[in-house]
């Protein structure tokens, strides 16, 4: 394979072989000498007073080493929230302690009450069942809109009305109301963006060990961001010296957001290993994953969009109740605010926008980022409104969008687009993706087919969604001013070995995204060497200097750029070494295709020889340090803003309400692509999750606060025969503010797809004369059938 022009090639992944041959190494695969195993006693109630925990019988069980309860952890901090949002009146949000083990009260079904540690996993499970807990069950509340009503059961006694914070963004409400009053048509939609369970197929798994001689800890954890876990655990929870703690995120079996957060079990196992002097391991059972992995979405929203007589949007007014669950998860507070409210400009020139969010505690699993995190909720809101408004105004939904799109801008010759909701878009060609999508669809033909079908008693529907997202998270100063308690830069170290082989250490973490391939493509391309000579290392705080991890489609845009910055430093230093060896001025040295050449001559020297010279500096510039090893911290100048157009075609069975997804078209503009094959794979996966939300998935709590579908027997995971092949297309509008011109692709699919599918079902029903405004997701056959009967 050519060593140049690797960027842009669909290179097959280098990581595949270990996974296809069973040689991946996931956290649960790791067994340490003198290993012990943990199991948890968990509250069966959503809300209960813990009156007594009797561990005496359990302690006598075979193999039991220790049992700890909330009382033992009374002096240990809880896990922190990483983002402070203030009330409208300026008060800080409510942050009740999220203890490592519940003490006094359990606040959601599954809240851990005791940890049992034994010689084997089976012994730990047996003994956990022998722990006797006396509870007093208390009334609970699960619905966020009900939780704020007077008299609702309180999740935390010191949080009045269960309100974590209220918050608003955009234009003053008076201006929005005034614009709305001028509208000739207002489309109103009240809907639920239902709670989802992320369901990475690898359950969370932790193995923590402590060496009393060196006073050092090692935590193996299925995480998306090992350095962040180490920082939060050391500085905020356990008060451990950070340099004595090594956190390793080995191969991780999918995250989708759910493995970003610092979970109580990580800190608790680390606390336990210090007490016991033996490694402690715990792997979630799937039912625990359902109850404990932070959930996603769960918004109750009323949205109104005002239009003038021509169909131009005049104003958008949004009120959302966002369910935080029982405790604030690591980024729980920023999802419905700075990752949701800030995206409500969408792709449109809407001049007045106001969004008002109330974040609410309930007796349910904490809610945090799940693929897209806030942006799918914003997109669902806008795109459902657009198709509904077109229907109400008797307009074509594509035409309505063309009428309202922000005109194309490249962010270089034309400035970025300043939205009404804080963000400034980097570059975009929004009409381009819709045009392309319509072309792939064969729009006129499908409308003809739909009409014919309706005449024959069949329901076919077409649904659109044109989305934008804020990715490449994020400029530290900007997010800091918005409440983030961390910087969001990334670190990339490039170490050229004496033989010219290159070791790269990135703070980004790969758990399916293929960093070991794409990052190696970038490095090999820039240095003009073979990909075989590049190794990408990630996921270990001991080898990687620092890192903020992988989420928000940030790896390539932020982590990749950090690596590029280090490569630039290597080339610059290489030029000085080459100039010395070739007796030329460094300014006269060109670096291309792995060769340092004196401009205008054929005098050149190869990359490997420069590397060797840097480490064997016999003939070497006087004031230059030996070695060829650079690290860079890159803090982005702006978010990146991928966008696209998703179109679904469905057939609805009139008799049963069953929805069949006939076609799914995704045209995505994620800026430049380093590996189009991997980008397409990311889109596929996101689209599947988004369709899953539209048609299949949703957490179901009963009135007692029990998650009634907390298993794969009950939660409807999308399967292979639920989907057709997806039809994908791309458009490239480079990001103007990072050197690779990339925007990020991890979340696009999940953001764009959901409203397209729901809109398609609505369109099908409209074609059959059913005057339906909304069907609550997931659109099961029963719900669609009921909607058709009403």
């Amino acid at each position: 394979m050519s060593t140049t022009n690797l960027i842009g090639q669909s290179v097959k992944r280098v990581e595949d072989k270990r996974f296809t041959t069973g040689r991946g190494r996931f956290a649960d695969d790791i067994v340490l000498p003198h290993q012990t195993y943990a199991s948890f006693v968990r509250s069966p109630y959503a809300h209960a007073r813990i009156l007594q925990v009797d561990t005496s019988a359990a302690k006598e069980m075979p193999g039991v080493i220790a049992i700890y309860t909330g009382a033992d952890l009374a002096n240990v901090n809880g896990v922190p929230c990483g983002w402070q949002v203030n009330f409208k009146n300026g008060d800080a949000m409510k942050e009740p302690k999220h203890a490592l083990l519940a003490a006094g009260k359990a606040r959601h079904a599954g809240d851990p009450v005791a940890i049992v540690i034994a010689e084997t996993r089976e012994q730990a499970v047996d003994a956990a069942e022998a722990v006797v807990v006396e509870y007093e069950e208390l009334p609970c509340v699960i619905d966020a809109a009900k939780a704020v009503q007077p008299g609702a059961p309180l999740v935390h006694e010191d949080v009045p009305n269960n309100i974590c914070f209220d918050w608003a963004l955009g234009n003053p409400i008076e201006e929005v109301n005034e614009a709305m009053s001028r509208a000739s048509h207002v489309t109103t939609l009240e809907f639920v963006n239902q709670r989802l369970v992320p369901n990475a197929i690898e359950p969370r798994s932790y193995n923590s060990s402590y060496d009393p001689i060196t006073d050092k800890y090692i935590l193996y954890t299925s995480t998306q961001n090992p350095h962040v876990i180490r920082l939060l655990m050391c500085a905020f929870v356990l008060g451990l010296p950070e340099h004595k703690v090594r956190v390793v995120g080995p191969d991780v079996g999918g995250g989708f957001g759910s493995k970003i957060f610092h979970y109580t079990e990580e800190a608790l196992l680390t606390w336990c290993t210090k007490q016991l002097g033996r490694p402690v391991k715990w792997t979630a059972e799937r039912s625990e994953s359902f109850l404990l992995d932070a959930h996603g979405r769960d918004h109750i929203t009323k949205a109104e969009m005002g239009f003038d007589a021509e169909g131009k949007i005049l104003a958008l007014r949004v009120k959302t109740y966002a369910n935080m669950g029982a405790y604030l998860s690591t980024f729980g507070s920023c999802i419905p605010t700075y990752l949701h409210g800030t995206l409500l400009q969408g792709l449109y020139t809407t001049p007045k926008i106001n969004v008002d969010v109330t974040a609410v505690f309930t007796h349910s699993t904490p809610v945090d980022a799940y693929r897209g995190a806030g942006r799918p909720e914003a997109t669902y809101l806008l795109e459902r409104l657009m198709d509904l408004a077109a229907h109400e105004m008797n307009m074509d939904p594509a035409d309505l969008r063309f009428k309202n799109f922000i005109p194309p801008f490249d962010g270089v010759n034309q400035p970025g687009y300043q939205t009404q909701v804080a963000l400034q878009y980097d570059s975009g060609n929004y009409e381009g993706v819709l045009k392309k999508g319509l072309g792939m669809l064969g729009y006129e033909e499908i409308r003809k087919k739909q009409k014919e079908a309706a005449n024959n008693g069949k329901l076919i529907g077409v649904g659109f969604s044109t989305y934008i997202e804020a990715c490449g998270i994020a400029p530290s100063a900007v997010v800091g001013s918005l409440g983030a308690r961390a910087g969001l830069f990334e670190v990339g170290q490039v170490r050229v070995q004496p033989t010219g082989k290159v070791s790269v250490y990135t703070g980004s973490h790969s758990h399916g995204q293929g960093h070991e391939t794409t990052f190696a493509q970038v490095v090999a391309d820039k240095l003009g060497i073979s990909m075989d000579d590049v190794e990408i290392m990630h996921g270990d705080t001991e080898t990687v200097a620092f890192g903020m991890g992988t989420y928000g489609s940030r790896s390539l845009a932020v982590g990749g750029t950090a690596i590029v910055k280090s490569i630039d430093k290597i080339i610059e230093k290489g030029k000085k070494i080459a100039a010395h060896k070739l007796e030329a001025n460094p300014d006269d040295i060109n670096f291309e295709s792995g060769k340092f050449t004196v401009k205008g001559t054929d005098k050149s020297i190869g990359f490997a020889e420069i590397a060797l010279t840097a480490y064997v500096p016999h003939v070497y510039p006087k004031d230059l340090e030996p070695g060829l090893d650079f690290s860079s911290f890159y803090d982005p100048a702006n978010f990146t803003y991928p966008f696209g157009c998703h179109i679904a075609v469905v057939e609805v069975d009139k008799e049963t309400g069953e929805v069949k997804l006939d076609r799914f078209i995704a045209v995505d503009d994620v800026g430049n692509m380093v590996n189009p094959m991997i980008v397409e794979g990311q889109i596929h996966g996101g689209v599947a999750q988004g369709i899953g939300q539209a048609l299949f998935e949703g957490a179901v709590y009963n009135e007692n606060g029990q998650l009634t579908n907390a298993s794969y027997m009950d939660y409807c995971m999308p399967r292979a025969d639920d989907f057709p092949f997806f039809e994908t297309g791309t458009q490239v509008t480079p990001c103007p503010h990072n050197p690779l011109g990339v925007k990020g692709a991890g979340e696009a699919g999940a953001i764009g797809s959901t409203p397209a599918v729901v809109n398609a079902v609505m369109d099908a029903l409209w074609s059959g004369g059913h005057n339906v405004k909304d069907i609550r997701m997931p659109l099961t056959a029963e719900r669609v059938w009921r909607a058709m009967q009403s």
């Binding site: 097959k12 992944r13 990581e15 595949d16 072989k17 270990r18 996974f19 296809t20 041959t21 069973g22 040689r23 991946g24 190494r25 996931f26 649960d28 695969d29 067994v31 089976e122 369901n199 990475a200 197929i201 690898e202 359950p203 191969d251 991780v252 079996g253 999918g254 989708f256 792997t283 059972e285 799937r286 039912s287 758990h511 399916g512 995204q513 293929g514 094959m677 991997i678 397409e680 794979g681 990311q682 596929h684 996966g685 996101g686 689209v687 599947a688 999750q689 298993s711 794969y712 027997m713 995971m717 999308p718 399967r719 292979a720 025969d721 989907f723 092949f725 997806f726 699919g749």
Partner: protein, 167 residues
């Protein structure tokens, strides 16, 4: 109490004493150290634990180790023969049929079972066969493509004489 079992795993005979309640997947992962077979759920729904038991796909989380006594087992580690990858292992790489790789061993073992019984599966037959295996990363698109790649590859390959491994 423990019970003696004799199993042949990837062509190697093992004699072990196991607890009666030990799951086959735990025997493979913990006793034999074959960690390529994964556990994704407690309900035999996700298929990450799929192996071949006497040449048939089986979910090893839903079997006791003692039930595998005197059986012949192939795990993902034993699928490649003489250093040559199975066409499915190659197909998953060629068609980007995996991302995080956690479901991949089960997915490949299930697909291998399909291809043993059906050399020319249609797209719908492939999707139906993979229904008991969850993937959260790929949307199944490239997994189906990977299986189709293997079908073509196996069509092109000369049939090899069948070699049975004795228990």
């Amino acid at each position: 109490m423990s019970i003696k079992i004799t199993v042949t795993v990837n062509g190697v005979k093992h004699v072990d004493r196991v607890e009666p309640r030990m799951l086959l997947v735990n025997y493979l992962r913990e006793t034999l150290g074959l960690t390529g077979t994964h556990v994704g759920c407690d309900t035999s729904s996700c298929g990450a634990c799929t192996i071949h038991l006497n040449d048939k796909a089986a979910k090893s989380c839903s079997m006791l180790a003692v039930q595998a006594d005197k059986c012949r087992i192939t795990t993902i580690e034993g699928l490649a023969k003489d250093g040559e990858l199975h066409p499915l292992q190659e197909g998953f790489n060629q068609c980007h049929g995996l991302q995080c790789g956690f479901c991949t061993p089960g997915m490949i073992m299930t697909a291998a079972d399909l291809l043993r019984n059906n050399r020319k599966p249609s797209e719908q037959e492939i999707r139906a066969a993979l229904d008991g295996n969850f993937c959260r990363c790929t949307g199944y698109h490239n997994i189906v493509k990977s299986v189709q790649y293997a079908v073509e590859k196996m069509k092109a390959a000369k049939p090899k004489p069948k070699k049975e491994v004795a228990v």
